[in-house]
Amino acid sequence: MRLKYPANIKIVRVPCTGKVDILHILRSFEKGADGVYVVGCLEGDCHHHSGNLRARKRVEQSQKILEAIGIGGNRVQMYNLSSSEGARFARIAGEMVDKIIKLGPNPIKKAKQATGASGC
């Protein structure tokens, strides 16, 4: 298909989205990520029964935490698609990047730059 998607996305492969924990999402922001999205299988199609449903709950919980600490819950998003939907994968990547560009960079980046700390 040779589809293109934005190059500023870092893909972290996991065996199942059920492996994704709130802590993984928070650590990404701690290290300077501007946004995180979790791409799981279609709901009802999880090979491990409910991994993607668990991931959705964890994403929602992460959104609440990030909202509470002033980072913005809308920087985290869950998507569900099947492995045959390459075109949709590329479209979602573009959609997410556009959304994050509108939101601006992770607020902690500015603070880190101001204090001269490294790690982003």
Partner: protein, 222 residues
């Protein structure tokens, strides 16, 4: 186990926002099982606080540790050599652990990271329910193993009251009537004669009404 619920992070931030070094201490027992204050929750709170302080442009050192228990001297001793390095401790243990930590290390302010709720069971993951109020005089032997003190909203000993309707309590329609449960259970056990007995007035001095309680066991004391 003692069941606790997570405190809103805004509330914790409000308590520690002026601190420079914070120690977040979890507990490996009850609060781990009810997913409120175990190692994972300590990690999540620590990460969230780090993000918050970084966003605010403040340099705050946040360390984390999870003890086996916070209600015993021997485990709390494990942090004796490090605790003086911190301005504040956020304990994710139940109220017992928070208080014991504060008693033991009184020069460091200790803040609770959870709301301690009750003694209860895991009915299913994410649903914990009260089963015991620690009244100090257990009567479960006569009530089919169902406690009227914790399962009845009015804590009555000769129930049910007039608010019981179709097996549910008047205070919340989805709540089972504790006394209906007791009657059903005694019937199933063929022990309804127990239900016919009138309970005398309970001596509440063994409960909280008698002030803070102690259990003294000279046989195991050193």
């Amino acid at each position: 186990m003692i069941v606790a619920d997570k405190k809103p992070i805004e509330e914790i931030i409000e308590e520690v926002k002026d601190k420079h070094t914070i120690f977040i201490v979890g507990c490996n027992e009850c609060v781990t099982v009810c997913e409120a204050g175990g190692k994972k929750e300590v990690g999540i709170l620590a990460s969230a606080l780090r993000i918050y302080f970084l966003k605010e442009g403040k340099e705050v050192k946040i360390d984390e540790m999870t003890l086996q228990r916070q209600c015993d001297h021997e485990y709390l001793e494990e942090i004796r050599n490090v605790i003086d390095k911190y301005d504040a401790v956020v304990s994710l243990a139940c109220g017992v652990g928070v208080q014991f930590m504060a008693e033991k290390y009184h020069s460091i302010p200790v803040y609770p990271g959870v709301n301690t709720c009750f003694m209860g069971v895991t009915e299913k993951r994410g649903l914990w329910a009260e089963r015991c109020q620690g009244c100090g005089q257990c009567i479960l032997a006569h009530t089919g193993g169902i406690c009227p003190i914790s399962r009845c909203a009015k804590r009555i000993l000769n129930g049910p009251c007039g608010g019981s309707s179709n097996g549910h309590c008047e205070i919340r329609k989805e709540l089972d009537c504790g006394w209906q449960l007791i009657i059903d259970r005694l019937k199933a056990l063929g022990r309804l004669d127990e239900y016919e007995k009138i309970y005398p007035i309970k001596n509440w001095s063994f409960e909280r009404s008698g002030g803070p309680r102690q259990v003294v066991r000279k046989d195991v004391q050193e």
